[in-house]
Amino acid sequence: MRVNNLFVEKLNLLDTIRNCFTKWTDRVDSCMGFDNLKLFMNRLEDLGVKTYLCHSIEDLLQQINSLIKGVKTQILITGSETEHKKQLIEKLKKDNQNIRVISADSTTPVYDVELSIGFPELALANTGTVIYRASSGIEEASIYFPEIHISIISKNKILYDIDDIENYIDNFLRKGESLYFVTGPSSTADIEGEIVRGVHGPRTFYVFIMDGESK
């Protein structure tokens, strides 16, 4: 470390106080659920991700139906087993007879899947991240292979930042489940620094947030 002296010590002390205060206020906001939703949506928009706040499963279905109009073949659904997921599969199958709605726990190939819908375990507001768990290659592939990916997450699964998830991650890893953080669409800046979407993973990324208790 550089020369230690009174100036540096004072600076560090101020820095520590500032951080403690910021962290404390952020945590309070986080616990109260005040700012995480707003922050999460802002961060996603900055990343070029379209976000929708859905107030009911009907609302969600309406939004999804408008997005899948162009989908000709299959929709793949993956992620945590929630009531929303069950209801969505049921309704999608009913509303879209010509589309095969398949679940990612099957062995169906993903090569023809144009759109996938995922139910992440958690989200991080400060980085605009959704976190999936997966225990098989098909679950991985269903998140990354299709051109379009939609994440659906309940508002109360949005935590503030990476510091808040240490225990969650350790628990998943202990159970043998890998975790994938996704923060925006796949991108590269390898050619003259120009950001291009979709070099490998989904080119278009939507996040639907369910406003209400997780089911």
């Binding site: 600076l11 062995t107 991240t129 225990s135 290659g137 292979f145 796949s186 490998h200």
Partner: protein, 696 residues
């Protein structure tokens, strides 16, 4: 091809376009917006995590071995690159692998794995776009994060046009579309995925990958065999350690709060079903020593093992930004590439370290505060002692004797230095480029016109000036002393040696140590009598506070460092109100301020800017980095220093001239000379702009 010729070739190729610089500037602009979100406390915590992980490496390897065994994966430790390549080859043969998809792994570049696999007819496809471009071009990466940063879109399009056998337009969007299609086919066909790892967690065996493209995910989703190849230093103890580092890595690397894809990947995963049945994925971790364990015992360079590969040092390195990693690097490039090349490929491959001008910006940029300039000087020293120092550096090492000698006969010296033929001879025999203007020697040096000034009402000050001010700009020192005496200080200028930066810069560390010992002894004795040291030259201050304590590792050197201040930092400590009281206002003056690399106030403030603003000037400022001259480095002829130095200077001046100041102002005599040479704007030292109020 000699290093000098490589430099000149790259400079001519990159001229005015500066692709490396522009790519790095884009990243720096993004970083500037969010870097303040990282606290000093967190940086210290991460440094500690890395220190502990290297300290406990053996235990962590064993913990990892157990965790992987529990999950049915194998851990192999390879002594060197060859052994690691053989291990991979063996697995390929055992499972009949003919196609390998690789996701960005610098370590596989380090061991040149592709060559070994391809020699056995195993096809390797790089899946990171930048890596794929350089693979098809038959080149090495020029940047650890942007392997193809050195290429234009037109060059990239030509590569793919040749590869696909049909025209590909020079449009990144179109190129990406084409490549995406091809990659997807390869993922499905590949028999093995090879990835690197940003981190490996000893607690649970997870490997962590951080990417923006998502190529690692698709490679892993489909391949039945996964080989992880990483350096042993990538092992961290716990998930918590990784999460802490993730808070600083993307912010520093690409200016993102988090990279697009971060995976905590366990070896228990099953691969994507082929023929509709689930295969158990085979996972092998090959961790490579290749010099790392030895480096761990090497106290002088050990801290480079804390490097998290964020490339912050590459983003700011002035010579690297002008010539790129093919010249300024071997496999690892830029400032961090110097020690990493020594560790992994041996000292003989570090000749490019001569391109490091010891500006020190790399350390300032490093989130882990790795003392890269010092480590790089150590590498230069070891290279010099083993293979011989470059002849030019051996001559320039004697700069102080040369200046002292020339100053004894100033008229003759000035005449010689202004004569074209004499300059040509100097260029040939000493190595100073004849195009580089040199400052004039004066009839009297500082020692002849100044002894001491003022009375110690508020304290005693040693004014440390260094050679250039002593011999060529003594007026600045006199004015500096008058200002301090007006503020109530007694000022003395004792007989000291030059700070020794050129010796450090070229790796003559024994000589530098001798100078440091002499100066520290003199200054320490005066400090004990109640003096503080005030350096008028930023480089002198950098030596006192950064290099001397490291070179000597003594209590005396630390005491000197703690009692040393930059001149304007000291004025700030006295208080701008007092400074305003004794100096005339310069209201209405518009200046563009250049911050010298070594001008580092302890509180991080830009003190000269504050000084000028306190006196009423309008200051235009843009943090652009090193002026390019860097002492005698930019004086060295042609591609050894001068030509790179001029390119750096031209870029800076182009930017400064857009800002709107009437002058360029800087407190470093070296930067001042550089701008006088490359700029059309007048250049001033801050003290040239001010006058004592009492003179009125």
């Amino acid at each position: 091809m000699s290093l000098e010729k490589q430099v000149l070739e790259k400079l001519s190729l990159f001229k005015d376009n500066w692709p490396m610089l522009k790519n790095n500037l884009r990243i720096r602009e993004r970083k500037d917006k969010i870097i303040s979100e990282i606290s000093l406390e967190l940086l210290k915590e991460v440094r500690k995590i890395k220190e502990e992980s290297i300290e406990n490496l053996e235990q962590n390897i064993e913990r990892l071995r157990r965790a992987l065994e529990e999950r049915g994966a194998e851990l192999k430790i390879a002594r060197d690159g060859l052994e690691a390549s053989k291990m991979v080859l063996e697995v390929c043969k055992q499972y009949g692998v003919k196609l390998v998809v690789k996701s960005k792994s610098l370590t596989t570049e380090e061991i040149e794995l592709n060559k070994v696999l391809e020699s056995e007819n195993i096809k390797v496809i790089e899946t990171d776009l930048g890596e794929r471009i350089v693979q098809l071009a038959g080149q090495k990466p020029s940047h650890i994060l942007g392997p193809a940063f050195h290429m234009t879109r037109k060059e990239v399009a030509e590569i793919f046009t040749e590869y696909y056998g049909r025209p590909i337009p020079p449009d990144p969007q179109q190129i990406v579309l084409e490549v995406r299609r091809e990659f997807r086919e390869n993922y499905q066909k590949a028999g093995m995925a090879i990835t690197g790892a940003n981190f490996i967690i000893a607690d649970n065996g997870a490997m962590v990958l951080v990417t923006n493209e998502g190529n690692d995910r698709l490679a892993l989703a489909f391949a039945p065999i996964h080989v992880v190849i990483a350096g042993v230093e990538k092992i961290l103890s716990s998930t918590r350690d990784v999460l802490k580092i993730l808070k600083i890595l993307p912010r520093n690397a690409t200016g993102q709060r988090l990279s697009t894809y971060v995976s905590f990947h366990l070896p228990t995963m099953t691969s994507y079903p082929r023929e509709a049945r689930l295969n158990a994925r085979k996972t092998i971790y090959i961790l490579i020593d290749n010099g790392r364990m030895k480096a761990r015992q090497d106290e002088e360079i050990k801290e480079i093992l804390y490097c998290i590969r964020c490339a912050s040092c590459l983003q700011v390195c002035p010579p690297y930004n002008m010539v790129g990693g093919h010249v300024f690097g071997y496999i690892y490039s830029g400032p961090m590439g110097i020690p990493w090349t020594m560790i992994t490929h041996g000292l003989e491959k570090t000749y490019f370290s001569q391109l490091c001008n010891t500006c020190g910006l790399c350390r300032e940029a490093c989130p882990l505060d790795i003392n890269l300039p010092y480590i790089n000087s150590i590498v230069k020293e070891r290279y010099g002692k083993r293979f011989g120092y470059p002849a030019l550096n051996k001559i320039l090492k004697r700069y102080e004797s040369l200046i002292t000698l020339a100053s004894r006969t100033p008229k003759l010296s000035n005449k010689l230095l202004n004569s074209n033929s004499a300059r040509k001879i100097i260029e040939k025999f000493i190595g100073i480029d004849s195009r580089r203007p040199l400052p004039r020697f004066l009839e009297k040096n500082l020692g002849e016109i100044f002894t001491e000034l003022g009375s110690p009402e508020k304290g005693n000050v040693i004014l440390f000036t260094d050679s250039l001010i002593y011999y060529m700009y003594p007026d600045w020192a006199v004015k500096a002393a008058k200002i301090l005496s007006s503020l109530g200080y007694r000022v003395i200028i004792p007989s000291l040696k030059s700070c020794g930066m050129p010796l450090i810069q070229y790796g003559f560390m024994d000589d530098a140590r001798r100078i440091a010992e002499y100066n520290v002894e003199c200054l320490y004795n005066l400090i004990k009598q109640g003096y503080v040291v005030v350096s008028l030259e930023p480089t002198a201050q950098e030596c006192l506070t950064n290099y001397y304590p490291k070179l000597l590792e003594t209590e005396k050197a630390r005491t000197v460092a703690e009692n040393s201040y930059g001149y304007f930092e000291f004025l700030k400590k006295i208080g701008w109100r007092d400074v305003r009281r004794i100096l005339k206002s310069i209201e209405g003056v518009h200046v563009t301020y250049h911050l010298p690399c070594h001008s580092r106030a302890r509180d991080g403030s830009i003190v000269v800017k504050e000084f000028l603003e306190a006196l009423g000037a309008k200051v235009y400022f843009k943090r652009l980095g090193c002026c390019g001259l860097a002492g005698t480095w930019g004086m060295k002829k042609n591609g050894h220093g001068y030509d790179i130095s001029i390119e750096i200077g031209r870029y800076l001046v182009g930017e400064y001239e857009k800002l709107g100041g009437e002058f360029i102002v800087t407190e470093c005599s070296i930067c001042l000379q550089q701008f006088q040479h490359v700029s059309t704007l007048p250049i001033r030292h801050p003290l040239q702009l001010v006058q004592l109020a009492s003179i009125e």
